[in-house]
Symmetry: C3
């Protein structure tokens, strides 16, 4: 087991400390940066990033996530064993949607306590001092139950379930990507109950087409589509929808079928 | 063959899906990020990025490029065999200048059709679903002609040839880098026909020195120089020339020799 | 020896040239990006980045640093052997604090002269033409004294020593990170002489708490803390302190103990 993915809100520079620590313990580890530009302290956005990508990695990967506004407080550090796929990070819900996507409710969660898997622990940088070395030791063959005791009262996190009412679906913005595309928690299976590709929908007071792909509208036009992650997304072809609409992670998104006949 | 380079306009996050897919197919692949901040949907800028860097990679590399405003439309997906150096991406010209730099007109282009080299294909993310897995299979030893039929009517792209008229060279801006340095398609061989290092030139209505290196002028001053890619470039020493001049990729650049005797 | 770290002010794209060159010479090299967003031409900030991270890498690493406003002028290119840890870059002080952190005054500095370790050298991109290939050859087993003659008059750089006067410590801002956290050159050992965690301090005309960690104040509040690098740092919990205060690298930072009894 030697592939370690890293998802943080650290920006540049700090992720390299984690890599230095990992490679010192396991010089053969493969490290993949998922993203380090998760909106700062936005646990739900980080959770979505890990949730989205985890099925594409091989089953013997270890996923480290650090979006951790509670670092240095009493929040716990955990390892999750999700039917063999391992997750390492803070006990704040960040890792849960991804772990459940792999293993449903079959999660074994361990509180990280074993100091032999840590560096000397600072108050501000558990990514470097705890999560990186723990992931490296796991990639060298340590088992999840060696890091500490199993716990059952870990912090849960669910992307709320959108609601269908009449001809609209009401959900939540869970991620805004680098292009300003606004990703919701509304899956295609819900949209398809009210409308389908080729129709128009009303979102944020605008009537826009619901398309299969970006290229279907002219440059600068707004569209709704199902993104590569399987969720409804509002985009401007070659523009920034989030900036234009003033939308950010956590805002509501209501998609209404447009039954005009004009 | 196991080095795969990635050049996209994906920003953060989406490139990681490509890496996950590649490493799942070929856990030994080496992946190098060329850049993921190509100006969005700017095929010429992406083409320049790949063109610039390709000679520095070993001959047994595979170069994946994804600047792909036509994703999900009828544009084809291709593999180019340029005398053994392989390129993978959309058939929109992006890969052509780099491939020609390696192999001149000796390009074999194959349309990607073989579904066993793809994931289930979404409408919006061929980088993940087609180009990443195809490159991984190529890195494992699949040959270009296994991915699909050879095609001859692929989309061409040339950086236009600049023109010399009297004492000026007229070209085009093909790339603006992270520092705001404005890179043109004008090679040193054309500049040297009208002037040489140590002289002054007139560009964008300013008389500026034509220097060998950035350090030759004071901080904040504008200069023309031949960048590390071999093309004329306008820069401000420790400043942002593109922002100051309001120039972006696709704009004209005319460099005029300055024959004042003062 | 095969781990090579890269620290530059190159932004996106240019670092990939260095990686292509390194991997062509040593296909087995491991490359870790420390950061490529050092404030442009800010040698002290780059020096701090390398200084901060170097103890976390294994002892057989090679650290390439390129923050190089003097590229193409007469400044020398050097390799430093710091008791076996190697540094490669320009002779402008950038590498010195990190090298001294490893080996104290026991530095052997060599001017890079041996052309067989270089590409053809351009005037603007020694990262690609000199530092990358030299580091790759070192990682393949070349020794520092093969690259050129030992020199003794290399450019030194010290983070100035802060001063304690009465109940205040006066130092300097040496780094602003991606979050806008303002990092000084003031170590905990000096702060602890005037105050301690749990007290308030006066910095930039504000009375703020001196805390162990970010989470100790409400969102949007300013705090002083000791960062993960061991130096005093001013931060806004989930905000950007540097932007709010208008502070950048090189500015003074004075931390005054607050002896109010209210």
């Amino acid at each position: 087991m030697s592939l370690i993915s890293l998802t943080t809100d650290f920006g540049s520079f700090y992720p390299a400390f984690m890599k230095a620590v990992i490679l010192r313990i396991n010089p053969d580890a493969r490290i993949v940066d998922v993203t380090h530009t998760v909106s700062h302290a936005d646990i739900r956005a980080g959770a979505f990033a890990i949730y989205s990508i985890v099925p594409y990695f091989s089953q013997d990967s270890i996923h480290v996530g650090v979006v951790d506004p509670g670092v240095g407080t009493s929040r716990r550090s955990i390892v999750i064993d999700a039917q063999g796929v391992l997750f390492v990070g803070p006990d704040n819900g960040l890792l849960i949607p991804a772990a459940k996507r792999i293993a449903g409710q079959d999660l074994r969660v361990y509180e990280i306590k074993n100091k032999k898997f840590m560096l000397e622990v600072s108050a501000t940088f558990h990514g470097r001092d705890i999560f990186a070395p723990v992931s490296a030791h796991l990639s060298c063959g340590a088992s999840a139950d060696e890091v500490g005791e199993r716990v059952y009262d870990w912090v849960d996190l669910d992307f709320k379930q959108p609601l269908i009412q009449d001809s609209s679906v009401s959900g939540e913005v869970i991620f805004v990507d680098d292009f300003g595309n606004i990703v919701s928690n509304i899956p295609y299976s819900m949209i398809s109950q009210i409308t389908d590709f080729g129709s128009e929908v009303i979102v944020y007071n605008r009537k826009i087409p619901f398309c299969r792909t970006y290229g279907r509208v002219d440059e600068g036009n707004m569209i709704a589509l199902i993104g590569s992650h399987g969720f409804a997304e509002i985009a401007i072809n070659q523009g920034n929808a989030a900036k234009k609409l003033g939308i950010s992670s956590g805002d509501r998104m209501i998609i209404e079928a447009c039954n005009d006949t004009d």
